[in-house]
Amino acid sequence: MNHNFMKYISIFLALITIFSCTVEKDCNPSSICNPWPYDYGNLNLKLTNDHNDSILIVLYSGYVDDQEVISEVYTQSNQYSFYLPVGNRYSVEVYYVQGSVTTVALDGGRLNQETFINCEETCYREPNLNLNLRKL
């Protein structure tokens, strides 16, 4: 097989290998470690609301298709947070009304518990799911 081609492939695979994973093996005894898992976390929304309009936010459990509405709120801010049980999937719809046209922004994800190992101890970070629902 073409020698140069093999060289390019080798470089490509080496770059993938280098950037594919990082392992936290540090031990910092002075760092704060929370050894207990969280039950609740924050679902943080970024919104577009330059004129402080009243914007409808609909929060769903699971996928939006499941139509399990947890909450419907109006906000005049450009950010909003929900405090929700960890480990579940959530979906959010935001309704931007401009004249006769409504833009429905949708995004979602799972609110996961994040952990890291410090000095061979499992530490828990406060769960956060950040969704960018700004209007394009």
Partner: protein, 210 residues
């Protein structure tokens, strides 16, 4: 699109044509080799697709055919017109599966590199899925015209830079996109065989080395 080609043609009109001298009168013949691309990029200022393809490259008649898979490697905020009063804004990933064909022609030298024009098409289907919902984006049958410059790098590696009309039904993404594709040909002996066209036993010249 036409201005793009017109610019290229005018630009190359004043350059030397590598196959128009007396020594390089050639007879071509079918000479397919395997080809692979791991750097097939299609992009504009609003969107990006990465992909890879495999197929054949005919070094004799200078055309290629490849099976191509491209995807947007991130969830992008996209706008889709649902009806006259509702626009949906999704987080979307896209996949494009296609058969690519292209033809190279019109040899010339550009900054010491052998270059050609190429035109082609991608025939495929554009698929996609969204975050936070189980519905998928509407499958879009796509015929993507492509044209541009093909540079012959050493060892039969082709760098193709061009422009395509890649329709994706997204409001905020223009359909015109740039193509940047590096294609390697898999051949044991990259040297082309050169034969005299006046030799009666000769089947023909495949390609003339620069």
């Amino acid at each position: 699109m036409k201005w793009f080609f017109l610019t290229i043609i005018l630009f190359t009109h004043f350059l030397g044509y590598s196959q128009q001298n007396e020594e390089s009168i050639t007879v071509k013949k079918f000479n397919p080799v395997s080809s692979i691309s791991v750097l097939n990029n299609t992009f504009n200022l609003n969107d990006y697709y990465y992909g890879f393809s495999m197929g054949i490259e005919d070094l004799g008649f200078e055309w290629g055919a490849r099976f191509n898979f491209q995807f947007r490697p991130f969830f992008k905020r996209t706008l889709i017109q649902e009806n006259s009063t509702t626009i949906r804004q999704y987080r979307e990933k896209k996949y494009f599966i296609s058969l690519d064909f292209d033809k190279r022609f019109f040899h010339f030298d550009l900054a010491g590199t052998q270059a050609q024009l190429f035109v082609g098409t991608q025939l495929g289907v554009l698929l996609g899925n969204y975050r936070a919902t189980r519905i998928s984006s509407k499958a879009l049958l796509n015929v993507v015209p492509i044209g541009g410059l093909s540079f012959l790098l050493k060892d039969n590696t082709f760098l193709k830079i061009g422009f395509c009309y890649f329709k994706d039904d997204l409001i905020e993404v223009p359909d015109g996109k740039i193509v940047l594709n590096l294609i390697f040909t898999l051949k044991e002996n990259p040297k082309f065989q050169e034969q005299d066209v006046n030799d009666s036993n000769n089947e023909g010249l495949i390609f003339s080395e620069p």
